[in-house]
Point group: C2
Chain length 218, copies 2
């Protein structure tokens, strides 16, 4: 009996397709992030989206398609956020610093996006993992380019290139895993994570135990 909800119990209002698609994707990300691909049910997605199941099939296709859509959208968001944070004319360490800050800011704000990308998509083989790996490769390249250019600047191009990709992978992995660790230790503020990593990968333990500390240039 309130004023609204007067016709049939609850039939969704008519909305343009683009809006519904967004709602559905949002719901899907949420559900997939909670249960993972296989345990997530289309029924739950439809419920959370506030829309009935056939709409999903009609707009975004089968479960697989839906999941791919999620991954792609979130991966692009994430990379866009990181790239937007980087100022290409700064010194290498400052670039890295800004990239990391953007990354953790993103994870903090879009926790579910991150969960879907990192925890869920990886565990389902096939096309999904490929999709995520493509994103990671882009991230690794970003970092590798940074390493190599920093090395080249001082005449170490060759050596930097040979191990550059591997190190970049390790660094990206460290960042990812720290983000993951963070999900279970949320009391640490997000700026701190980035500086831990900077201290770790820029200075290294050897310098750290000597009392050295990395800080962003003013």
């Amino acid at each position: 009996m309130t004023e609204e909800a007067r016709r049939s119990p609850e039939r969704a209002k008519r909305l343009p397709r683009a809006v519904r698609e967004k709602q559905i994707l949002d719901a899907a990300v949420q559900v997939f992030s909670r249960h993972g691909y296989h345990s997530a049910s289309m029924d739950e997605v439809s419920e959370v989206a506030g829309v009935s199941k056939p709409m999903i099939y009609s707009y975004l296709g089968a479960k697989e398609d839906l999941f791919i859509h999620c991954i792609r959208r979130e991966a692009n968001r994430l990379l866009a956020a990181v790239e937007a944070g980087i100022k290409p004319d700064l010194a290498p360490d400052m670039q890295l610093w800004h990239g990391l800050r953007s990354f953790y800011a993103f994870v903090a704000e879009y926790r579910e996006s991150w969960t879907v990308l990192h925890r869920q998509a990886m565990s389902v083989g096939g096309p999904f993992a490929d999709e995520v790996n493509a994103m990671r490769e882009r991230a690794i390249e970003l970092v590798a380019a940074l390493v190599v250019s920093a090395g080249a600047r001082r005449g170490l191009a060759e050596q930097a290139e040979s191990s550059g990709e591997g190190m970049a992978a390790a660094l990206v992995g460290a960042a990812e895993s720290l983000a993951d660790w963070w999900l279970d230790h949320s009391d640490v503020p997000d700026g701190v994570l980035a500086s831990w990593l900077m201290n770790l990968v820029w200075l290294g333990f050897n310098d750290l135990v000597e009392g050295a500390v990395w800080k962003p240039a003013e």
Copy 2:
């Protein structure tokens, strides 16, 4: 009609329970590592194990129990391997070095164990992730102790402790992710991975671009 396989088409030979349990666990690790928890079917496990489904239920319980058994066995194997590689009376960097080598050696030899632990168990919430996290915590503590003790040795106990766990998490994460990356770039020999990481976390980019290189003492 060869000599064997003479009675009914193919009925498994009678074997003691302990042996069958091992076979089943081996098969389960293999299947879970390929498909992940949810997609793996008990039928496939039973087929790979060369044993029929009810045996699994009777020996190792339901699917969940089976998976837990796998995780626990593999986690213990892994940690045992790493701990066995560490010589506690060496310098911190050498301890780390040996630990990393053991770790990558393990991953190389028991690829499927690693996949189950890292890629699969994490993505299924609840009791499984807890199990794996318990293992990771042990690993992190191992490393954190190393960091802290290295710091304490030079009077930096306080600072090392505050960030020690986070850094250890990052380092463990870097090692894990590099292992993961390795699964898709298997052409790199395993010793190299460990030295990349040593260079990264012990020296840091700042030293590396100056041309510094970390090498194991003699």
